[in-house]
């Protein structure tokens, strides 16, 4: 009957309610990419020589590479010489109070349940000294420092802990890994660095929120997290709040290193600008995320809620090198309008008794295309490896697509690998059932989607999970009903 199409039309017409124009004045490097630009970036950041050399090697290697075309995403070719590779943010006075901020934006904040002070911070309103995020950050930093935890921008780590950076950077994602990782290695602007010493359990969720300068490092972010023996850390990336950014190409790299008995939990909520309802604009999010379980009994867990970006190309992966190590991947990827997502994971089993678990939930609406692509590889020496994968797709309307590309590569016959997949649709009959009980179509879709994604959202730290729930509903919200 008709109402599936109606919803489709209305969803397709829904606007991204989070976008707003960045008013930050920037100090720009000239457009284009060459060795001089890389020297300029490195010099601006006052980097050690080895870092510059590494960047240059990456750049030279990148020049020999071709942009990958295997993902099920389509976009016009990128002119890499038409991009500014360095932009320093310059402080400019923001709005004086929330009254001066776009009311639409405030509405979105309220829908997401973001506290007032946080709203001010996000919309650039000057806040008084007590609530200034800089001072909050400093407080936390002191507390972390007592435990020996290092948590700072990677540019700062290069100054203060160069040996640690040098030891680990590129050790999980070498610059030769792929086209976008090579590009990132050559030009990365900034990102997070985190080191948890032996036996320390990080007492709080580490979030970029507490890191100074967090908002200005979007385009080529580089994150490096090291959990030393027996340590634990939970790291949160992104937030449900609107992300302002005018750069179309994002190519981040994240490397995680878990030593013996260590555990890293990495949670992402990605809500970059997805483009308008006609499919114009939006971020190309080409990210390389990989962790290595280096020591025995180590554990890496990726949880992601992906709702933004015009194109998402990302496969947070685990190399399970240590015996008895565990890798997990929990994902919700939601696409609407003309968004395209090609996302999944790679679980590389090398050590004995290694285990991995993949739970992927794709949600497609509008005219979007949503693909799961995952590799489970069991190496020859990985005795008794175990994998369980579950890939579910949910379709809303009849103009979107869901695709699953599982790759399984087993070289050891003691392995047990399971793969389950389902595809379902929010049918007209389900929507009518909700309607008949007094629940609008819009709310119905929100409830069904949240129920569907519950298993993943439960993996997130609680406060984050509440926001992510709302985000899923808001992302599907049009003028339905």
């Amino acid at each position: 009957m008709g109402n599936g199409n109606d919803i489709l039309e209305k969803l397709t017409q829904s606007d991204y309610k989070h976008g707003f124009v960045s008013n930050i004045e920037q100090e720009l490097a000239p457009k284009g990419l060459n060795e001089d630009i890389i020297r300029f970036i490195s010099q601006k950041k006052n980097e050690p020589d080895w870092m510059l050399e590494w960047r240059l090697k990456a750049f030279r290697y990148w020049q020999t590479m071709k942009e990958p075309k295997w993902a099920k995403v389509y976009y016009p070719s990128i002119d890499y010489q038409d991009i500014h590779y360095y932009a320093a943010p310059v402080k400019k006075p923001g709005p004086k109070s929330l009254d001066e901020v776009d009311p639409e934006l405030i509405k979105t904040f309220e829908k997401l349940g973001i506290p007032l002070e946080e709203q001010k911070r996000l919309s650039g309103v000057a806040v008084d000294a007590v609530l200034d995020s800089v001072s909050v950050a400093t407080t936390f930093k002191d507390k972390l420092a007592e435990l020996g935890i290092i948590f700072c921008p990677i540019s700062e780590a290069l100054q203060e802990h160069p040996d640690l950076v040098r030891q680990y950077i590129g050790s999980v994602v070498p610059y030769t890994d792929n086209y976008f990782a090579a590009l990132n290695s050559a030009v990365f602007s900034d990102g997070s660095f985190c080191y948890i010493p032996k036996g320390v359990r990080c007492p709080m969720e580490l979030s970029t929120y507490f890191r100074i300068n967090a908002s200005s490092t979007g385009q080529f972010e580089r994150t490096l997290i090291i959990a030393d023996e027996g340590s634990y850390v939970s790291y949160l990336e992104g937030c449900t709040a609107p992300i302002r950014d005018e750069n179309q190409l994002h190519a981040a790299v994240v490397e995680l290193i878990a030593h013996k008995d260590a555990e890293i939990k990495y949670s992402t909520v990605q809500n970059w600008y997805p483009g308008d309802k006609e499919g114009k604009g939006g971020i190309y999010n080409f990210v390389t995320k990989r962790g290595i379980c280096l020591g025995e009994n180590s554990r890496i867990s990726w949880t992601q809620v992906e709702t933004g970006s015009a194109i998402t190309w990302k496969y947070p992966s685990c190399i399970l090198k240590g015996d008895n190590s565990v890798g997990e991947f929990y994902s919700v990827a939601l696409t609407n309008n003309f968004q395209q997502a090609d996302t999944g994971t790679k679980m590389i089993h090398i050590g004995k008794n290694t285990r991995s678990r993949i739970i992927s939930k794709g949600i497609s609406a509008g005219r979007s295309q949503n693909s799961y692509r995952g590799l489970v590889k069991i190496n020859k020496k990985a005795q008794n490896a175990r994998n369980f994968s579950q890939c579910d797709s949910l379709l809303i309307g009849d103009k979107c697509g869901a695709h699953t590309f599982p790759y399984i590569d087993i070289e050891n016959n003691t392995a047990i690998v399971e793969h389950e997949a389902t595809t379902s649709k929010i049918s007209d009959d389900i929507l009518f059932y909700f309607n008949q009980r007094g629940i609008s179509k819009e709310d119905a879709i929100g409830i069904v989607v949240n129920g569907y994604a519950r298993e993943i959202l439960n993996q997130l730290p609680m406060e984050f999970a509440v926001e992510a729930r709302k985000l899923l509903s808001v992302s599907l919200e049009g003028s339905v009903g």
């Binding site: 008709g2 109402n3 009518f432 309607n435 009980r437 629940i439 069904v448």
Partner: protein, 254 residues
């Protein structure tokens, strides 16, 4: 007082005339049974009243509490007190019965400017209503209708009816596929919910449900038209003569 008034309602589905001039008036406190053979338009009537999309209203009007019902979207009709117990209740994976009902009840309460229930109040109400249909409360934490037997699904419909306390409840073949015990439970549920301010339209093939729920009126629907109306005796005659007789001869004379 008149609750629902259907006047000369003609409805097409994919260009076929399914309802061909229905006239029916339902007052508060009444129970109407609508009987008829397969394909006579019973379920279409229920769907049209509940506001399902995909039906073309060719002619006629429906007044409900003085409002032009056909202009209201389905969720507003529900909020105004119309409830449809579905013939085939859908399964909603991942959404628990408790969450589903809490949302429904609170949405309706908001619409009526009543305070919404908090979690504890709500749980108590649910437990009480679950007793009415003799369901173990563990079903509240299961997904809506997922893995439910046919009988459980129908009982769940009556449970929801009890939760939402509608003014006009339409039961679309709620009795089909029920064993005797479930039938009794469903009927007891309905009987305990009826009062002088609400009304029921009970759509059924068979007379047997009407042994448990005594209707004030029985209407016979054939080819999209009510061809005969009477009291509960009519249902018995209908059982005796069969629908084939009706199809050929039209009206049963006592």
């Amino acid at each position: 007082m008149s609750l629902l008034k259907i006047e000369n309602l003609k409805v097409k589905v994919e260009n076929n005339l399914i309802l061909n001039g229905i006239n029916l008036e339902v007052n508060e406190g009444e129970i109407h049974a609508i009987m008829g053979p397969n394909g006579s338009g019973k379920s279409t009537l229920a769907s049209v009243l509940a506001g399902k999309e995909g039906y073309e209203i060719v002619e006629g009007s429906v007044w409900y509490k003085g409002m032009n019902l056909l202009e209201l979207p389905a969720d507003i009709r529900a909020k105004e007190g119309i409830f449809l117990a579905f013939q085939y209740p859908v399964e909603i994976p991942g959404v628990t019965n408790a969450n589903f009902m809490k949302t429904a009840v609170n949405e309706i309460r908001k619409y009526r400017n009543l305070e919404t229930y908090d979690a504890m109040e709500f749980l108590n109400v649910m437990k009480e209503k679950a007793k009415l249909v003799e369901m173990d409360t563990s079903f509240l934490n299961r997904s809506v209708n997922e893995g439910f037997s046919g009988g459980e699904k129908k009982k769940n419909e009556i449970f929801q009816l009890a939760m939402l306390e509608p003014t006009l409840a339409i039961l679309d073949e709620t009795d089909s596929g029920l064993d005797i015990d479930a039938l009794r439970i469903v009927a007891n549920g309905v009987n305990s919910l009826r009062n002088e301010h609400n009304a029921f339209i009970i759509i059924t093939h068979y007379q047997r449900l009407l042994n448990y729920i005594i209707p004030d009126f029985v209407h016979v629907l054939n080819k999209g038209k009510i061809i005969q109306s009477g009291d509960k005796e009519l249902a018995l005659h209908l059982e005796e003569y069969g629908y084939d007789w009706i199809k050929q001869n039209g009206i049963i004379n006592n």
